[in-house]
C-alpha cells in the first residue's frame, strides 16, 4: 500500500519540486496539493493522507494554524512543517502546534525524504537545532518556560489569529468576511477585540505583530549596492 502525502504550499513551483523529490521513492504517492491552509484542511479531511507537508508561510491560514486545526479535527494526522527559519520561537510554536516533523526549506532536498520516512516509521524528525534545544532542557522544562517567554499570541483565539493574519495580509474587513463566510459586522467586532487585546491603534501595529509572531512571513529585499554603477533613471 502506497504512502500517501498531501503537499500544502502556495507556490506551485515549490510543490512541483517537492513532488518530484518525493515521488522518486517507490511506494510514495503525492495524493493531493493545497494552495493555502484552508485548502489543506479541506483536502486532508477529504483525502486522509498518511503525511501532510505544510509550508509555514501560506496566505489566509498559515502553516502553524493549519497544523493546529488539522490535529483538532483528527489527532492522528502526521504533519511536517516546512519553514524558511528555525528560530527558537518558530520551533517552539511548531512543537506546540503538534507538528511531528520540522524541516528547513533550504535543506528540504536533503532532509524531507528522511522526515517522511521517520513519520512513516512512527518517529519524529526535527532539524539538529531542535535537538539542541531538547538537550538544553528547553522542552523538558516545557510549557511553563515557553509560556513565560512566549509572545502574546496565545491570548488571541484561533479565530482572532486567523483574522489577524488576513488583515495583516492586506485584506479589508469585507474581504476577510467573504473569505471566512462571516458577516462584515462580525469581522469588525473581532478586529476591535484584537486591537483592544493587543493595545494596537493602527493596522501597521497589526502587521508588525503578525510578522513577529510568524503569522505572515516576509522576504526582505537585498540591500542596495555599495558602489553606484552609474546614473540611475528614476
Amino acid at each position: 500500500m502506497k504512502l500517501r502525502i498531501l503537499l500544502a504550499d502556495d507556490h506551485e513551483i515549490v510543490r512541483r519540486g517537492l513532488r518530484a523529490l518525493l515521488e522518486k521513492r517507490e511506494g510514495w504517492e503525492v495524493c493531493g496539493e493545497a494552495i493555502d491552509g484552508r485548502d489543506a484542511i479541506e483536502k486532508a479531511l477529504q483525502l486522509k493522507p498518511d503525511v501532510v507537508i505544510v509550508d509555514i508561510g501560506m496566505p489566509h491560514l498559515n502553516g502553524l494554524d493549519t497544523t493546529r486545526q488539522l490535529l483538532q479535527h483528527d489527532p492522528q494526522f502526521k504533519v511536517i512543517v516546512l519553514t524558511i527559519t528555525d528560530s527558537d520561537q518558530v520551533i517552539r510554536e511548531a512543537l506546540d502546534a503538534g507538528a511531528r516533523g520540522f524541516v528547513l526549506k533550504s535543506d528540504a532536498a536533503r532532509d524531507l525524504v528522511s522526515a517522511v520516512e521517520a513519520l512513516q516509521n512512527k518517529r519524529m524528525f526535527f532539524t539538529p537545532r531542535v535537538n539542541d534545544l531538547v538537550l538544553a532542557g528547553f522542552l523538558e522544562k516545557g510549557h511553563a518556560i515557553s509560556r513565560s517567554h512566549a509572545p502574546t499570541l496565545p491570548t488571541l483565539t484561533a479565530r482572532e489569529r486567523e483574522i489577524t493574519q488576513l488583515l495583516a495580509e492586506g485584506n479589508s474587513s469585507k474581504e476577510v468576511a467573504c473569505l471566512l463566510n462571516l458577516s462584515t459586522k462580525t469581522v469588525e467586532t473581532h478586529r476591535s477585540n484584537i486591537m483592544r487585546k493587543l493595545s494596537f491603534h493602527s493596522i501597521r501595529d497589526l502587521v508588525v505583530y503578525a510578522i513577529k509572531n510568524n503569522l505572515i512571513q516576509i522576504e526582505l529585499p537585498p540591500p542596495p549596492p555599495k558602489t553606484p554603477t552609474g546614473p540611475t533613471a528614476v
Binding site: 507556490h11 513551483i13 526549506k105 532536498a109 526582505l220
Partner: protein, 151 residues
C-alpha cells in the same frame, strides 16, 4: 529589443536553448527544472545556489538564459546580474523572485535583466518568460497590485 531579425537565441550546433538555474533552494530549482525540461529544445545545463556560483557557472557553461533569484547568500541576484552584464553580455537574464514589487522590478531591469516574474506565478509565467527573453524580448509580470508589462 529585437536581435536585428536574427531570430531566437540558440546554440547553433544543437538548436537548444541552454538554461542555467540559480536559486538558493534546491527544491525551487527542482520545480523550475521539471517545468522547463518539459519543453522540447530547452535544456537545463546547470544549477547554482548563490550569485558567486552563478557567475562562475555562467562563465564555464555559457548558457543562453539564466533564471535567477534575487535573495541569495554570498552574492544576491541583482549584484550577480550587474557582474554578468559586463562579463557575459550575450546572456539573457530572467528574474524569478518572491519580490512582487515595481521598485524591485525596476532595479532588476536597470541591472540588466530582460525579464522579471514573481515566484507565486512562476508555473503560469515561466515558459512564456523564458521564450520571450531567449528571443531578446522583455517580459515582466507582477501580481495584482503591481504593474503588468509584456513587450
Amino acid at each position: 529589443m529585437a536581435n536585428g531579425g536574427a531570430g531566437p537565441l540558440k546554440n547553433w550546433t544543437s538548436m537548444t536553448v541552454r538554461i542555467l538555474l540559480v536559486d538558493d533552494h534546491p527544491i525551487v530549482r527542482q520545480g523550475l527544472k521539471t517545468l522547463l525540461e518539459g519543453r522540447s529544445g530547452w535544456e537545463v545545463v546547470g544549477e547554482a545556489a548563490d550569485g558567486v556560483e552563478a557567475v562562475e557557472k555562467a562563465k564555464n557553461l555559457k548558457p543562453d538564459v539564466m533564471v535567477l533569484d534575487v535573495t541569495m547568500p554570498k552574492m544576491n541576484g541583482l549584484e550577480a546580474c550587474r557582474v554578468l552584464r559586463l562579463q557575459a553580455p550575450q546572456l539573457e537574464i530572467l528574474f524569478v523572485t518572491q519580490h512582487d514589487s515595481p521598485q524591485m522590478m525596476r532595479e532588476a531591469l536597470e541591472a540588466g535583466a530582460r525579464g522579471y516574474v514573481v515566484k507565486s506565478n512562476a508555473a503560469r509565467d515561466l515558459l512564456a518568460a523564458v521564450e520571450a527573453v531567449s528571443e531578446h524580448r522583455v517580459f515582466t509580470v507582477l501580481n495584482g497590485r503591481g504593474t503588468l508589462g509584456l513587450h
